[in-house]
C-alpha cells in the first residue's frame, strides 16, 4: 500500500494526459456545437478545418524558426496561432460565401448541408495534403518538460516520476483562456447575445432585427479560431498528420453529442467525458493498482480493459449509451 506513489502514477499516466486531451476535444467539440447551433447542420469538415488551420500555423512556425524568432522556453507555434487563425478564417469564409450561403438561402434540409460539408471535407483534405503532404510533421520546439520524471523523483524522493510536458500545461491554460473569452463573448456582448438569440429561435431573432449574415460570419470566425487553436494544441501535444485530424472527427462529434448538440457547456463536459474514458479504459492499471491494493490482491495481468487501438470504440460506445438513454445529451442541447 503506497497511496502517494499510486496517486503520482495515476496523475502521470491518466489524469494529466486525459486533461490535456479533454481540453483539445472540448475546443473541437465547441466548434462543432456552434455550427450546429447557428447553422443547424453537423459539419463533417470540422476535422479538416482543424487540419487547415494547423497547417497554416505549422508553416508560419517554420518560417519564424527560419528567421530565428522564438519564444524561448515556449513553443514558437504559439506565435503562429494568429496566422493559423487568419488562414483558417479566410478559407472558411470563402467556403461559406461560395458553398454554404447558397443552401442557406434555399433553406435546404440539414442533411443536404451535411453532404455538402462532405464535399468541403474532400477539398480541405486534398488542399492540406497538396500543400504540406500527408506525412507526420513535428513543429514543437522550446523546453519539452516543465517537470521531467527524473527531476520529480529527485525533488520528492518518490519511486514514481511525474512528468509534466510544456505542451500539456499550455494546452490546459490556453483552453481555459479561450473558453473564458468565448463564454464572456456569448453572454455579455451584443453580438454574442444576438448569436444566442438566433440559435434559440431564428424567426424571432430575424423579427427583432438581427442580421443573420452577420451572425453567421461571426460564427465562422469563432469556429475557425477554435478549430485552429484546438488543432495546434493537439499537434503540439502529439504531432500533426492530416489523416489523424480527420479521424478526430469521431471523438469530437461524440463529445458534442454526449454533451448535448448546440450546448457549449455540454461540449466541454463531453470532451472531458470522452477523454477520461478513452485514457482510463485503454490504460494498463497494473502499476496504479499495485500501489493501491494490498499485496495479497495484486493483479497478475496488465489490467488493461481494451488495447489502445480501440480508443475509437470507446467514444463510440459512450455515444451509443448516451443516445440510447439520454438522446438530448448530458446537458439539454439544441440552443446556445
Amino acid at each position: 500500500m503506497d497511496l502517494l506513489n499510486g496517486f503520482v502514477a495515476l496523475a502521470n499516466f491518466v489524469l494529466i494526459p486525459a486533461i490535456a486531451y479533454g481540453s483539445q476535444l472540448a475546443l473541437g467539440a465547441l466548434g462543432v456545437t456552434l455550427i450546429y447551433g447557428i447553422l443547424r447542420f453537423s459539419n463533417f469538415a470540422h476535422g479538416d478545418t482543424m487540419a487547415v488551420g494547423t497547417m497554416f500555423a505549422v508553416l508560419t512556425t517554420w518560417g519564424l524558426q527560419a528567421m530565428g524568432v522564438g519564444l524561448g522556453p515556449f513553443p514558437t507555434a504559439l506565435l503562429a496561432i494568429p496566422f493559423g487563425i487568419l488562414g483558417a478564417t479566410g478559407i472558411v469564409l470563402l467556403t461559406d460565401r461560395y458553398v454554404y450561403r447558397f443552401y442557406r438561402a434555399q433553406k435546404a434540409k440539414p442533411v443536404i448541408l451535411v453532404i455538402v460539408s462532405m464535399g468541403v471535407m474532400f477539398i480541405y483534405n486534398g488542399f492540406t495534403r497538396i500543400i504540406i503532404g500527408p506525412d507526420d510533421q513535428r513543429f514543437a520546439d522550446g523546453e519539452r518538460f516543465v517537470i521531467s520524471a527524473r527531476d520529480f523523483k529527485e525533488m520528492t524522493g518518490l519511486a514514481e516520476g511525474l512528468s509534466l510536458r510544456t505542451s500539456q500545461v499550455i494546452t490546459v491554460i490556453t483552453a481555459i483562456v479561450v473558453v473564458a473569452i468565448l463564454f464572456w463573448f456569448l453572454n455579455k456582448t451584443r453580438t454574442g447575445k444576438s448569436m444566442r438569440a438566433f440559435s434559440d429561435n431564428e424567426d424571432l431573432a430575424l423579427l427583432s432585427g438581427i442580421n443573420p449574415e452577420r451572425v453567421v460570419l461571426v460564427t465562422w470566425l469563432i469556429v475557425a479560431s477554435l478549430a485552429t487553436v484546438a488543432g495546434v494544441l493537439y499537434g503540439l501535444d502529439k504531432s500533426f498528420k492530416p489523416f489523424t485530424y480527420f479521424q478526430l472527427l469521431l471523438p469530437i462529434f461524440a463529445a458534442a453529442i454526449v454533451g448535448g448538440m448546440g450546448n457549449p457547456l455540454g461540449a466541454i463536459a463531453g470532451g472531458f467525458v470522452i477523454a477520461f474514458s478513452e485514457v482510463g479504459i485503454t490504460y494498463a492499471w497494473k502499476k496504479v493498482l499495485g500501489y493501491l491494493m494490498p499485496p495479497a490482491l495484486q493483479p497478475d495481468g496488465l489490467m488493461q480493459m481494451l488495447s489502445t487501438e480501440y480508443k475509437f470504440a470507446i467514444s463510440f460506445v459512450i455515444l451509443v449509451i448516451v443516445l440510447l438513454f439520454r438522446p438530448t445529451g448530458l446537458f439539454r442541447g439544441k440552443s446556445l
Binding site: 447542420f41 453537423s42 463533417f44 458553398v99 447558397f102 440539414p110 442533411v111 443536404i112 451535411v114 453532404i115 455538402v116 462532405m118 464535399g119 468541403v120 471535407m121 474532400f122 477539398i123 480541405y124 483534405n125 486534398g126 488542399f127 495534403r129 497538396i130 500543400i131 503532404g133 500527408p134 480527420f246 479521424q247 472527427l249 469521431l250 462529434f253 461524440a254 453529442i257 448538440m261 495481468g301 480493459m305 488495447s307 487501438e309 480501440y310 475509437f312 470504440a313 467514444s315 463510440f316 455515444l319 451509443v320 443516445l323 440510447l324 438522446p327
Partner: protein, 429 residues
C-alpha cells in the same frame, strides 16, 4: 435516351483507356467499376429510396472482405487445437454477458438498476478476457509468420459473397436497432463510428484474420494466370488472336472476373428495380418524402427503415467480398474512409440518388475519374511546372502533390453536382 447516351459515354471512356493506355488497365477499371456500382446500389437503396444517411460503408465493405477469409481459407488445424475452443467459448461468454446485462436492465428497476447492469458487464468482461486472452495467445503463437490465425472453413470462395452480405447485414441490424429512429445526423455519426471499429477489430484481432499482417493468396474463383500460360490449348488460342500468352492470360482472368461481377450486378440491379417499382418501393418513398404522413397512414417507419438499412448494408458487404476476391488478399490497413465511404457517396450523388441506373452509372464514371485523375493531373502539373527549372523545390513539391489532386477533384465534382444539378446525372423518375 439520356440513360443510354451516358452509359455509352462511360463505355467509350473505358474503351478509350483500352486503346490509348492498355487493355489490362481498362479491364481493371471495368472490374472495380462493377464493384463500385454494386456498392453504389447499396447506398442508393438506403439514401435514394429511404433517405437514410449511412457513412459507414467502409465498415460493411470490410466485413465482406473478412467473410472471404473466413469462408475460403483452409482451416489451420494446429491453431484450432491450441485455442479454437477457448476462443469460441470466450466469444460465447462475452455474448452471454451482454445478454445477461440486457436482461438485468429490463427486469430490474430503481436506483440499483444501473449499478447492477454495470456490475454484470464488468464481471462478464473479466471472465471473457480470462478465457479469451490465453486462447488468443496460443493461436497467434502458432507459426505466426505464415498463419497465426484460425483460418477459414475452406469452402468455395464464391460462397463468401453471400456470407459477406449476411455478416454486413448482421452488423447493420445491430446499428439500426440502436441508431435508427434518432435524428439523421446521429445515424451518420453512429455509422461512421462503427466503420472505424470494424477496421480496428480487423487490424488488431490477429487470431481472426491476421490483422495488419494481412491474409494473402486467397483462393480464386477463376484460373491462375500461370496455369493458363502452361496450358498448351490456351497458348494456341492466344496465338490465334495474335497476342502473347502472358498478356492473354491476364486479360482472360480479368475478363472472367468481369463476367462474374457483371452477373452479380445485373441480378442486384434487377432486384433493386423490382423493389423500387413494387408497392414496397412506393411505401419507402412515401416514408422518405413525408415521415409524419406515412406514420399517420399506419406505416411502421422505424421497422421499414431498419429493413432497408439492413438490405443496403448487405449489398455493400457483397461488394466488399467481391473486391477482396478480386484483390486476392485482405489488407485491413488499406481501408480508408475517404475511399470506401465518401467516394461511394460521391458516386450516388453524381449518378442520381433514387435512380438505380444512376447509381450504377455514377459508380462507373466516378471510379474512372478516380483512377484517371492522377495521370491527367500529372499531365497538367508537368505543363504548369515546365517553366520552372528542373530540380527546384517548388517543382518537386508540385509534382509530388499530384496524387492528392483526386481528393480535391472529387470534392469539387460533388459540390458542383450538388449545386448545379442536385438530382444527379440520371434524376429519379
Amino acid at each position: 435516351m439520356r440513360t443510354f447516351l451516358l452509359f455509352a459515354l462511360v463505355a467509350c471512356l473505358i474503351l478509350g483507356t483500352g486503346v490509348l493506355q492498355s487493355w489490362n488497365s481498362a479491364l481493371l477499371i471495368l472490374n472495380m467499376g462493377l464493384v463500385s456500382a454494386v456498392m453504389a446500389l447499396g447506398v442508393n437503396l438506403q439514401w435514394g429510396l429511404a433517405g437514410l444517411f449511412n457513412v459507414g460503408v467502409m465498415g460493411f465493405v470490410a466485413l465482406g472482405g473478412l467473410a472471404v477469409v473466413l469462408v475460403s481459407m483452409p482451416p489451420v488445424g494446429a491453431a484450432w487445437q491450441a485455442g479454437g475452443g477457448g476462443i469460441l467459448l470466450g466469444l460465447t461468454l462475452g455474448a452471454a454477458s451482454i445478454v445477461a446485462a440486457v436482461l438485468v436492465w429490463s427486469r430490474t428497476s430503481g436506483t440499483l438498476r444501473g449499478w447492477a447492469t454495470a456490475a454484470v458487464l464488468l464481471v462478464g468482461l473479466v471472465i471473457y478476457r480470462m478465457v479469451l486472452d490465453p486462447a488468443v495467445e496460443a493461436v497467434e503463437s502458432i507459426d505466426s509468420a505464415s498463419t497465426g490465425y484460425l483460418g477459414g472453413l475452406g469452402l468455395p470462395v464464391l460462397l463468401a459473397w453471400p456470407v459477406g452480405g449476411v455478416l454486413a447485414a448482421g452488423a447493420a441490424w445491430v446499428i439500426g436497432k440502436t441508431a435508427l429512429g434518432l435524428r439523421s445526423d446521429y445515424l451518420a455519426i453512429a455509422t461512421l463510428g462503427i466503420a472505424e471499429i470494424v477496421i480496428a477489430i480487423l487490424k488488431n484481432e490477429d487470431w481472426m484474420a491476421r490483422g495488419v499482417k494481412n491474409v494473402i493468396g486467397l483462393p480464386r474463383p477463376v484460373p491462375n494466370e500461370v496455369d493458363l500460360q502452361n496450358d498448351p490449348a490456351f497458348v494456341e488460342r492466344a496465338a490465334d488472336f495474335g497476342i502473347d500468352p502472358t498478356t492473354a492470360s491476364t486479360l482472360y482472368v480479368k475478363l472472367e472476373y468481369g463476367l462474374l461481377f457483371a452477373a452479380v450486378l445485373v441480378i442486384l440491379l434487377v432486384l433493386s428495380q423490382l423493389a423500387l417499382n413494387s408497392p414496397w418501393g412506393r411505401m419507402m418513398r412515401a416514408i422518405r418524402d413525408n415521415e409524419t404522413a406515412a406514420r399517420a397512414m399506419g406505416k411502421n417507419v422505424t421497422a421499414r427503415h431498419l429493413q432497408v438499412f439492413v438490405l443496403g448494408s448487405a449489398i455493400c458487404g457483397i461488394a466488399g467480398a467481391m473486391m477482396t476476391t478480386l484483390d486476392g488478399q485482405l489488407t485491413p490497413g488499406s481501408y480508408q474512409p475517404l475511399r470506401y465511404t465518401f467516394l461511394i457517396w460521391v458516386m450516388v450523388i453524381v449518378g442520381g440518388s433514387g435512380n438505380n441506373l444512376g447509381a450504377v452509372l455514377g459508380g462507373f464514371l466516378i471510379w474512372f475519374l478516380w483512377v484517371q485523375v492522377e495521370p491527367m493531373g500529372q499531365l497538367v502539373m508537368s505543363g504548369i511546372t515546365s517553366g520552372l527549372s528542373d530540380g527546384s523545390w517548388l517543382k518537386g513539391h508540385l509534382l509530388d502533390s499530384v496524387q492528392h489532386m483526386r481528393l480535391l477533384t472529387m470534392g469539387v465534382i460533388l459540390l458542383l453536382v450538388l449545386r448545379l444539378n442536385p438530382r444527379g446525372l440520371l434524376p429519379e423518375r
